[in-house]
């Protein structure tokens, strides 16, 4: 299935754009999605952390991705 991915901060710069469309296997988990993304953009592995938010909430790695999910890549936050 096709999913839309939002990227922010240094992840956006590494991926070269804010919005990315990716083809992933049906029923992929967050963990599997992270592996697919890291394979395409190996520099993401150098980050201190990288997590995924779905529909504007932090989620666990076992969470299954659904087609309509709003997926965002969250590199280490540094607000304040």
């Amino acid at each position: 299935m096709e999913v839309n991915i939002l990227a922010f901060g240094i992840a956006r710069e590494i991926m070269g754009k804010q919005n990315l469309v990716l083809e992933i296997p049906n029923q992929s988990t967050v963990k599997e999605l992270l592996e697919i993304i890291e394979m395409q953009f190996p520099k993401l592995k150098d980050l201190a952390s990288m997590t995924i938010a779905i529909n504007e909430e932090y989620v666990k790695e076992e969470r299954e991705i659904k087609a309509m999910d709003e997926i965002a890549i969250i590199p280490p936050v540094s607000g304040g």
């Binding site: 922010f8 240094i10 938010a53 504007e56 965002a72 936050v77 540094s78 607000g79 304040g80």
Partner: protein
Amino acid sequence: MIKITDQPINITEVIELVNASGAGAIDVFIGTVRNKTQEKQVTRLEFEAYDGMAVKEMQKIAESAKSKWPVQKIAIYHRKGVLEIGEVAVVIAVSTPHRKDAFEACQFAIDTLKQTVPIWKKEVFEGGEEWVSAHP
């Protein structure tokens, strides 16, 4: 009273938002842009936010502060975009009946914001730039 804005933050406005008849104290945290990081001279900061989620996470901080301390009102405003040295990046104001709780709740709010809210800060130096905390 949570806001992400690309306009300068009016500090007085944020403080007035939390004034309450049951409050004997208002504690305010103001985060400003510092001119250096370790030995490097910073020329400006660029803040990027995942707006919708950042507001939700800030709302969670406000709710959490209210559950831990007798918070009358709390306001959290965060700026995004390009900020020059000395500009205000974040303002948190908390009102409580007594001062100790206001200090504690305000510290909790800024400490948690730095850990959980999806906002990113890039430091721009003379001849370089760096996303803060991005690499180990």
